[in-house]
Assembly symmetry: C3
């Protein structure tokens, strides 16, 4: 996919200065520009790069006044940053297949209404009582359980499983292999074996949530496991039964959250972090990768380690740890000196 | 789903005391009761809660004698705990779709017999030579490989994959995305690259095993990877080739077990724990979350840490670690004092 | 599956010494031999085992001269090790279903060419513009996105998802549930929520790559996430957007690599290791299980720990850590002695 300066200018309402036939196929930061890339200049701190960048095209504001010669072709627009974001969105739309309609080999239960704006791929299975919003895209081999609900504009990529009675909000993206609403891990010890505790609740996912490939969110024992609006979960994450994840919290890959734990809003959780069950994490908490969280954390803390401590303390501990073997020697030397002093 | 006291009493053979039209839709602990929930009183230690609980209905034993007025409607039964467990099982049955029959868009190889008591969903694929027990539920888009066997009453949720020659016992539950019998991770270094070592064995899963969403159990190089009766595995767990997991052992989410490791019976393994390969873990071992297990553990030990040590020792180490920076200062002070003493 | 000594000898061009009707069904190391297994003797160091092994058949070289009586039936061949490897490959071929042809319930977009040498299972979905090589096996319910490419001889086991525009090389094996090309985890904070950064790149996988069950490799924001030739990834691994994994690098299960990290060639990475984003790991690096890698590592290093340090240093730290509580006591004792000395 390639575009000329002329084509881009006409798409974004800009004016070309330089070669209207300059061709680009990718976006790059102005300081990392290369032939065939388009960059933008928005922050005045980066202005000096425009004179050296190898990008073929640079988006600049209409009032930008160059002070030296510029190799790149310029396109003048009202807001260079907004324009580049728009161009990326347009490119995404071109690259991503725009699927519509119901493919013939799908299986949709009687009585389920599918709006004309939706896509239902082959081998997708939609159970009795499911409610599907407008403009929903259900890729091949998704499974929507009985009475499950999918909100408007949500995309389910191939192989997503939504168990019965679970709800997904509007404008969500669930990537391939996501499992929503499998049974929570609940067993009661009885005479040396385990009896299954029925998992009667569901999962409720808010709006604007994105969930990465093969991530699992288990249904609640009673009530709901809740993922609030704007949450972003990376791949291969585990959210156990009865957890609650607050709005706009972000978790990197392979995080595990044990049962009934409540995580606040606007938290940032690094990869492979583990949370104990039945704890409460405040709002705006940041947790370093691979940390282990055994207990509550108040609002706004930055934590790190196993078990996690304040990030500053973790750094000091790690530094001290590196000096431990040397410290051992110091102590032995002190013991000797004291013995000598005592002998005097 | 709502029930009145009257309906519940008739289902469980109890007698109502209070409002027969009291309505409940969920179960709650008596100390956490709220309007619309049903609780039970079994342990006498909790008796005082019955006078303050907000639960709409409480199950009590036939001989319970209240000493104050009680807001909730009572239902008298022989065994309140057993009754509430039964009610939860009944609710689970009502909530969970009871699927039967063979859906037309499934693919079942010639010669495979499916009993009338079974369910085979659309887009399920059953290969040649597979043996399917009675009352098995195979949800849409499951894959059963050649000569694989599935025991009576087992449930395979959507998208489970059972590779060729693997065996799953009776009364098992495998959640969405489980993969049983993918090749073990075996490669021989040859001239700077790796040659695949054929994985000729299989996986054998016992009875009453539950396996969580997207968990993987690899086939053995030779012989079998074995999951014994009553084992419960949470989501996103990795069990490598030739491992052996003993009866009634329970593992939380994201645990990883490397090849040929043998884990005993009745163990409890916390989330994200990692086991080295070719080690032996005794019976009744408990391992704290995120621990790393580099070597054998005898029966009955409680372990924690990376690398794991006795749980008591881990707690002491963690406490000492927190005091390390202060300790450093103490040592410096001692050095100074000794220097002064030596100068005298 | 059973074979007699006579049958095996005729398959491998060997000569039988002993019972031509001796029957085997599995392979075992000579020191672990048992009735019904075949072993081989290649390394002279193991020669003494041949007089005690319980294997029913042993492959030996044509010039082997026994010095005692041998219970097992011998088959003399030119190269016993090469012969046993060949037998295992043959067994693998017999055990693994050899699928061919296009099953009727698959969905293949118009214009996609499938060579007669290929297998496409039921419920597999191949999108417009996809290119499928010769002798490719696509098991049931795989999804191949728009314009994706699959090289010759590659096997996609059930439920693999290849997103649009991604490329998989020749002679690869992708196990069940693998997800290639889901969106990278990229979001820009805007007024307290997150806007999705379009993920415009793809994934490019080289030749002879094996990827374990439910492993995820995300597409690049721009450009490509690259997995080079000969890489072996175990199950449940996460490779984030814009990562680059060098030739013949091997990763055990549940490793996580954050965005834009570059890992060299011939590295060996233990299970559950986590890599920070935007770092560079050299060639031939070895990393112990569960380590956390926060920064660059030069070629050839052996690392371990959280955060990872040189493996030798890690061992010393762990040893010192175990002695910490005792060290604390020593320091207290020293303090006392010094106080006494000062009082004098």
């Amino acid at each position: 996919m390639q575009f000329t300066a002329e084509q881009i200018a006409s798409m974004v309402g800009g004016t070309v200065e330089g070669d209207p036939q300059a061709v680009v196929s990718t976006v790059a930061k102005i300081e990392e520009g290369h032939k065939g890339s388009i960059s933008f200049l928005s922050n005045p701190k980066y202005t000096h790069y425009i004179y050296t960048t190898d990008s073929s095209i640079v988006l600049v504001s209409r009032d930008f006044k160059p002070e030296q010669t510029i190799k790149a072709t310029l396109i003048r627009v009202d807001d260079p940053y907004a324009t580049v974001a728009m161009l990326m969105q347009m490119a995404a739309k071109m690259l991503t297949p725009d699927m519509k309609g119901i493919e013939p080999q799908s299986a949709i239960a009687e009585g389920v209404e599918i709006d004309d704006s939706c896509y239902v791929g082959s081998f997708a299975y939609i159970s009795k009582g499911a409610k599907i919003g407008r403009n929903v895209k259900i890729y091949p081999r998704c499974f929507i359980g009985m009475n499950a609900e999918i909100g408007d504009n949500t995309i389910l990529y191939p192989g997503v499983t939504i168990y019965h009675h679970c709800k997904v909000g509007t404008d969500c993206v669930l990537h391939a292999g996501v499992v929503i609403g499998a049974d929570g891990f609940g067993f009661a010890p009885v005479n040396g074996h385990y009896d299954k505790i029925p998992q009667l609740g569901n999962v409720v996912i808010g709006n604007n949530v994105e969930i990465g490939a093969n991530t699992c969110v288990d249904r609640a024992t009673m009530g709901s496991t809740v993922i609030e609006d704007g949450v972003k979960l990376d791949n291969l994450i585990q959210i156990a039964h009865n957890c609650h994840v607050g709005t706009n919290t972000v978790m990197a890959s392979q995080v595990g959250v044990a049962g009934s734990t409540k995580i606040g809003c606007h938290c940032m959780v690094g990869g492979q972090v583990g949370f104990a069950g039945h704890i409460t994490i405040g709002n705006g908490v940041q947790i370093g990768a691979q940390s282990g969280i055994p207990r509550d954390i108040p609002d706004g803390k930055v934590m790190m380690g196993y078990p996690a401590v304040d990030a500053g303390q973790f750094a000091r501990q790690a530094a001290t740890l590196a000096r431990l073997p040397e410290m051992m020697k110091t102590i032995s030397a002190l013991q000797k000196k004291i013995a000598e002093l005592e002998n005097k």
